[in-house]
Assembly symmetry: C2
Homo-oligomer: 413 residues x 2
């Protein structure tokens, strides 16, 4: 079963927003055994939407459309869908009740354009939007299914999870699609590839291997498709085991999780706690950990010590150390890590201090200079990095390096 995703909205094509909906939808569809053939982003333009619908329907049986359902004039998805199917628009009672319900809930006056949200093409079924006023729409035309949903992520997500995916599962017998990801750290893509070349060559045609590199990490992904889920699963496990054995201690996880989640799992199993002392990463590392459910078992918290006075007051970095060596120095990062360990009473701590840029560099310490430390009661490791000139990249690379150092320290014991 092939699907296509069409996202509608000029804001994507001018780069004002990043399309995160498509990746999420693709994940859900894949998990249900539906392969996404193409994702297309098109403008709020009648003719362009019509062409995109036609092209997608020639390649796929399921067409998912997001965006362009707002109450304002730039949103033309509904009327364009009606034109595409050659039908008129009608006011739908279910959709209107939902609009009324939402306005009643927030006790706000309803405007005429809000009532327009209940207008839908007459050949569709309404998918009720529990979180907003724009109805979702389900069309079945010439053996193809078209689903139109709002572009607001959480409105779309609830519809997909609660209505669309379950409905598709009852309609079709779907093949099994299995993805298996191995997270590796500290070894480059080409070295990994050379090391497992013979395993890759021996893969059957219905199983593919992909390399997904990202700042010091490479995810290896085996993807298989087949009728017999159990047999496919056995095959995938077989090749996973071969690769894991070959790649050895560079394997951080045998599932599609992030490095910080691997660390959280490892520490949770051992009852270990963690804190962070962040200067140039400014809370990003803490955010990486705390975005995961259950992180509070391991991650106690930490300091975002942007100003020197906070390095002293929260982390007990010595005033002389900052005066003598500066905020971005081996001495300071070690005191930050050990101060976090002591003041926050955690088993492990990571500390980062650096010059994220674009300003603040000196000849001695150019923008991109970052000191990172990882500490336990037994040992403090520290390392200097020289990244580039781009602030956000420096923050991300610092976080990635800090996680890698902590992971190594944890496994080292």
């Amino acid at each position: 079963m092939l699907a296509e995703i069409i996202t509608i909205g000029d804001e994507i094509l001018i780069g004002q927003i990043v399309d995160t909906n498509s990746a999420w939808m693709a994940q859900q569809l894949n998990n249900a055994g539906i392969r996404v053939k193409q994702i297309s982003s098109v403008s709020d333009d009648r003719q362009h939407i019509l062409t995109a619908l036609k092209e997608a329907s020639e390649r796929a049986n399921l067409i998912f459309i997001t965006g362009g359902l707002g109450p304002t004039k730039d949103d033309i998805t509904k009327t364009t869908l009606a034109e595409y199917f050659g039908v008129g628009m009608v006011e739908n009672k279910e959709a209107l009740d939902n609009v009324l319900r939402i306005f009643a809930k927030y006790d706000r006056p309803m405007l005429d354009i809000n009532r327009l949200q209940a207008q839908i093409p007459e050949n569709c079924e309404v998918i009720v939007n529990k979180n907003g006023t724009a109805p979702g729409m389900w069309f079945e035309v010439n053996g193809k299914i078209y689903v139109s949903m709002p572009g607001v992520p959480f409105e779309m997500m609830y519809m997909m999870e609660e209505d669309v995916i379950p409905r598709i599962k009852t309609l079709f017998k779907l093949p099994a699609i299995i993805h298996k990801t191995i997270l590796t750290v500290g070894e480059g893509e080409s070295f990994l590839a050379a090391r497992i070349a013979d395993i890759e060559d021996s893969l059957p045609k219905h199983i593919k291997l992909a390399y997904l590199p990202k700042l010091g990490q490479v995810r290896l992904r085996l993807s298989g498709q087949g009728e017999d889920e159990k047999q496919l699963s056995t095959e995938i496990e077989h090749y996973t085991a071969k690769i894991v054995e070959r790649v050895g201690n560079h394997v951080a996880a045998e599932e599609d999780i992030t490095l910080e989640k691997t660390i959280l799992n490892f520490m949770a199993e051992r009852g270990l706690t963690l804190s962070a002392a962040e200067s140039c990463t400014g809370g990003y590392i803490s955010h990486l950990f705390t975005q995961h459910p259950g992180s509070s078992k391991v991650f106690l918290g930490g300091a975002v010590s942007y100003a020197n006075q906070l390095k002293e007051s929260i982390l007990s970095v010595k005033h002389e150390t900052l005066e003598t060596y500066g905020a971005v120095s081996e001495e300071t990062v070690v005191e930050m890590a050990e101060g976090a360990l002591r003041n926050f009473k955690s088993d492990y701590a990571i500390a980062v201090t650096g010059i994220a840029g674009p300003d603040g560099g000196t000849p001695d310490k150019p923008v991109g200079t970052v000191w990172i430390a990882a500490a336990s009661a037994q040992k403090t490791v520290r390392k200097k990095f020289t990244f580039g000139s781009k602030r956000l990249q420096n923050i991300e690379r610092s976080a990635s390096a800090a996680l890698f150092m902590l992971n190594t320290l944890l496994k080292d014991v």
Copy 2:
């Protein structure tokens, strides 16, 4: 001048990664006066890539391709481009020198597959990749330009900024495209639309208005295209001024910046400082501020006080308060904000404590219950929110609400 972007890679179609490259490229192209007609994500599949290239070339004159240039077997973009153009592959000296340079720089042994990175279709010019081994490629065929670049964001970004965009600017006389964004807070999309309906109706055909809602904020974007940049700019400014006047105190900024950047600018101009006390947002608010260059002038730092012991030790929340009212309570959030103000010596502070979920809820305080406070020496405002069941959304919505409260408090004085 119309462009299309094709991103190649199964990882996008199975939702393993979010395509952030396209939004960035679209922004750069728009700034240069090039309109992006469509963005398509296709799989690492020969036939599919060939079809996508053909379809894109029928709609646009500039085709930008990212991804599929790695040294491993799943990457087939180069050979597929050669097939598309009907040419052979050759080893390119410039590309090879670059591969050798990079391996020499990192002092690593070079493998045979790394040498393969210097193989390119014989009809292209190399775009040197200063940050990696995969060369970029520039093709001019039948009056169309095709540019193939790596999918690794910072490799692609350097190529676009340093080579591709400047080269395109010398080749074409491009029309002016101007986008103007007005950031509004605290007013719903449909209310805004009703309020400015007559201004929207009076817009000339070459200027469009779009509404971009996002959790308590709506960005209004005017987009115009024309030959005469100066005249277009005057027109856009004219309509911007009309809208800003009408929307009044809901306008947070007259540029396309985030709410936190608006706050940073406002505080920097007044020499004010800020700190944060984050529990359930876990560093996310600090990260939002510190991702911006120059944030250290305003943002002193803060505490990620996930564990109660850290709320006490760093923020001086009273033990009795936590015992009596719990960590998620009005009393605690006020002490967190006022503790941050006092301990971190900032002029303003924000504090967030809540249950992000998916676990940890109680009948009294279900998942999604969040208390937020914003404080200055004169005043502490606090409010309880009841968000939903999804952890990441709760974190984002809490951050957005906290920024909104701080913004209101700042303007209130």
